[in-house]
Symmetry: C2
Subunit: 356 residues, 2 copies
DNA sequence: CTGTTAGCGCTTTCAA
DNA sequence: TTGAAAGCGCTAACAG
């Protein structure tokens, strides 16, 4: 491994000068000094020098790394690839690493089972990705260790970053209204996979967004909510019953993937999508049924990642300041193709900006 | 931050003794020494001591961290949540961190744009997750920096870990045969989204596995391959044409999600699934159509992660040894429910074992 | 079994 | 504008 010392020897200067030059802390103006700096940089490049981050961390006391904490069990912690990439890119852009960590519920009670990020001093801050069912012990544990933390995808009074589900839902409903629909139903159908899981905040927010838009337009609210189905298959049956009625809705906004079940139901009844029934749903990626895309409000994980990165860094810098909750706007229009970012979602711009 | 030194003072011993006790390097047998060790542990616990990994790394020269390198652009690098978790857990089990890294193609040509894991000395080894289209520069770059590396999801002569697609496909075909099917078609339909992407090895291997099983059973091979469709929707049309014929197949094995398109086609023709047409496909998670699950060969990312973790650690320990390519067995039976690990896939056992 | 000594590669601080 | 010295928290090696 090449060290600062070796470069210093070749260049005939001190380790210190090399360090300053390579870190950009070198405030030299004299031409001779500038030349020397250039020479040092060249030697470093030729030798293939790479600073030892561990040594930097020991000396400076900063790890320049953030741990992303996820639960064991996918019901309580989802991590779409786009969110992970968004986080990782946003942090890398600020010269910080993203470290993966997992925390099982039993680890909370068993001292010896604690994950590395709690057992060791290895990162500057945490991003907690518990969607719901945050185990009691976690907050205490984090408070106790005094690790600066930001919560993802959770709505609380402070220190959290989550998508603006209300606005997104309201906008999607507006979109359907603007296309001439009048009978628009909101569907939220789900299996009860777990015991009595408390609802995620988005359950209420998306419903509220739909209601707001309908009321603003003077249209009747019609909802179909069942969050305790026995099996996923029942979705199709329920929706089919609704669609069979004479005054069936001409459009449906689903909490999640209800639109694909609705598509199936429509097919069974001989209805055409989107002519007879227009569908919109929320998802990380465009909802697709055997290759047929359904308009989707994408949960713009990149934006979320970007905002979360900024927030956790701010928290690391000022651990005692309570950061206001941050609702990240989503892609306003439903989309049917992947990777077509709308202008509003300028990711690069988001990276450049430095939100407090 | 609590240091070894502080604990040592409280306990009335040297830093070194504390270090040994806390690291398990303490080979004491005398009761008095054992008592003292217990006391040291207690003090450490009371003070909330957490070892500084950066200091450990500087002193020992080992980072105890592995970087997972993914490409920019989802077509060349996919990272299912289960693989990420599998990797992270398997590494954590060996007291190593998983660090996320991304490498854009342009970074390869632009020296200043290199990602942190290449610009800095910060991890012991790399896991490269380029599914296909590995840019030319990467191998050279990694060779140049001499970073111990394992390739994921790629089939090459050495230093790689990938699922055993051939066996999985053969087994799935056997499964269909054992259920009495005789006319089984293999379908591989895909959009040509990119220019001229070379095929992933699994394209050939899954086909070969199907063929092997059919030939072993003395059954006729029937394939439907089109990897240059204009739109995903065409899948349904193609399959419908096939299913409309008199001697239509009674079962279909799809390369990926073809089964969901086949389900749509069957519905349009009034065929019942699985009575008239039995479907199987490959995917990370169970394929589902509006809540209706389709038997799926799951790409057991946990096993892959576990194997990859073991491989990269072996590579770090012996950087100059070429590790033989490792084909990881998949869940042998198609499944229709999530999170029901088959006995053969005992993840914990896999973690305990220490494959060379 | 335990302590002493000498670093690891880097940054921080202060002096020149 | 540069250097010297000290030290970050820990481990390795050897001595006793």
């Amino acid at each position: 491994m090449i060290t600062l010392h070796e470069i210093a020897e070749k260049a005939g200067v001190t380790q210190m000068t090399v360090s300053r030059v390579l870190n950009g802390t070198y405030a030299a103006k004299r031409p001779s000094a500038l030349n020397r700096a250039e020479r040092i940089r060249r030697i470093a490049r030729e030798l293939g020098y790479r600073p030892n981050t561990a040594a930097q961390a020991t000396a400076s006391g900063k790890f320049n790394s953030i741990a992303l904490v996820c639960a064991h069990g996918r019901t309580t912690s989802t991590l779409p690839q786009s969110l992970l990439y968004g986080l990782s890119d946003a942090l890398a852009h600020r010269k910080k690493q993203l470290v993966m960590s997992r925390l099982s519920d039993q680890a909370l009670t068993d001292d010896q089972q604690l994950p590395l990020f709690l057992r060791q001093h290895a990162c500057d801050g945490l991003l907690l990705n518990y969607t719901h069912c945050i185990p009691d012990g976690i907050r205490e544990l984090i408070d106790q260790y005094r690790i600066p933390s930001i919560w993802l995808n959770v709505k609380q009074s402070h220190d959290c970053v989550h998508p603006d589900d209300f606005s997104a839902s309201r906008h999607a409903t507006h979109w359907l209204i603007s296309k001439g629909h009048r009978r628009i139903v909101y569907a939220d159908l789900k299996c009860q996979t777990q015991g009595a899981l408390p609802d995620h905040y988005s359950v209420a927010d998306r419903l509220a967004g739909y209601k707001a838009a309908m009321q603003e337009a003077g249209l009747p609210v019609q909802t179909m909510q069942q969050r305790d189905l026995k099996r996923d298959q029942e979705q199709v049956i329920r929706i089919r019953t609704l669609l069979a009625s004479a005054d069936r809705p001409t459009a449906m906004l689903g909490y999640g993937m209800e639109s694909s079940a609705a598509y199936m139901a429509a097919m069974q009844l001989g209805l055409q999508v989107p002519n007879d029934l227009e569908l919109v749903g929320f998802a990380n990626n465009v909802i697709s049924l055997g290759g047929i895309p359904i308009p989707t409000i994408r949960l713009s994980a990149k934006m979320l990642g970007c905002a979360a990165a900024a927030a956790v860094i701010a928290k690391v810098d000022q651990p005692d300041r309570k950061l206001p909750a941050l609702a990240v706007p989503l892609d306003p229009e439903p989309v049917t193709e992947e990777d077509v970012p709308s202008p509003a979602m300028d990711y690069e711009k988001c990276l450049e900006a430095d939100p407090g």
